[in-house]
């Protein structure tokens, strides 16, 4: 566990929870990123303005981070473009079908004590752990 960073994780997590609470207090909306972004993709996409503004704020955060010493590093991604495209398609379709992602179900839904969100979170974390075990350690270790 040499990579464990509990302090920065707790501070960052508290800010995410604060953002979710603030969005509910001001707009009455749930801070699910797949829902906010997915709401922009469709035929009769309603209330575009605050959704676009939220996404702009999200992208501005790491840019302002560079002003106080957070390096803007290129994230480590799978080498295969095919894997990247398949993973992106699955994340997009799956989060819309399941009604949420890590933020919408994992944080907002669990904070609402929603049984749906608890089930969804257990499934996507469990499935992702199995996928990583297979990819990194091979079937059956």
């Amino acid at each position: 566990m040499e990579n464990f960073t509990p302090l920065s994780a707790a501070i960052g997590g508290a800010l995410i929870g604060l953002a979710a609470a603030l969005l509910m207090l001001t707009t009455g909306r749930v801070a699910g990123i797949s829902g906010i972004f997915g709401g922009l993709i469709g035929w009769n996409a309603p209330d575009r303005d605050w959704r676009i503004a939220f996404i702009v704020g999200l992208i501005l955060a790491p840019l302002t981070g560079t002003l106080v010493g957070y390096a803007l590093v290129e994230p480590q991604m799978p080498a295969s473009w095919t894997v990247i495209v398949i993973a992106g398609l699955l994340v997009g379709f799956g989060t819309r079908l399941g009604g949420g992602c890590t933020s919408g179900h994992g944080i907002c839904g669990m904070a609402r004590l929603s049984p749906r969100s608890l089930v969804a979170t257990v499934i996507f974390v469990g499935v992702a752990m199995v996928v990583v075990a297979i990819v990194r350690h091979g079937l059956g270790g």
Partner: protein, 150 residues
């Protein structure tokens, strides 16, 4: 005012992901890799977010939002096939890449070509779902997902 609130909340959310290290797929994959050098940081992020978020929601729920007529509190309670299948498909994509929608979109700031392709594929997956939903609705069937949870 609604847009300003969205901007501020997105910004705070983004800083949360940045400080916690969750913008980095490698950090997320280290949490998902229970048989490797396991890094429980993501668990701490979720616990802290839930502690603050649930207190905030308990306060917000009975109140009228500042810039909207009412709270759009998700009201679905049934655990149905779309929820289970959707969460499974998302879990596969998340495990393959270490990216969920928030960090993926935030990483557009790096202008990494791989991130841009990932987000484009994610948008395509969402558009495919929207198109499929629309066909179901026009076929006068009830939509498979009445309202998103988040």
């Amino acid at each position: 005012m609604l847009a300003l609130a969205g901007l501020v909340c997105g910004f705070v959310f983004g800083w949360g992901l940045l400080i916690s290290g969750m913008m980095q797929p490698a950090k997320v994959l280290a949490f998902l890799d229970v048989f490797g050098a396991w890094d429980p940081s993501l668990l701490v992020v979720m616990a802290a977010a839930l502690a603050v978020g649930s207190a905030g929601y308990a306060f917000a729920r009975p109140r009228t939002p500042l810039y909207a007529p009412r709270n759009l509190w998700p009201d679905k309670t049934t655990i149905d096939a779309p929820l289970v299948i959707g969460a499974t498909l998302f879990g596969i994509g998340w495990g393959l890449s270490g990216l969920c929608p928030g960090p993926a979109i935030e990483n557009l700031a790096t202008l990494s070509p791989r991130i841009i392709v990932f987000v484009a594929a994610m948008a395509l997956g969402m558009a495919a779902h929207a198109a499929w939903q629309r066909r179901r609705v026009t076929a006068s069937q009830p939509p498979l997902v009445a309202g998103a949870d988040g």
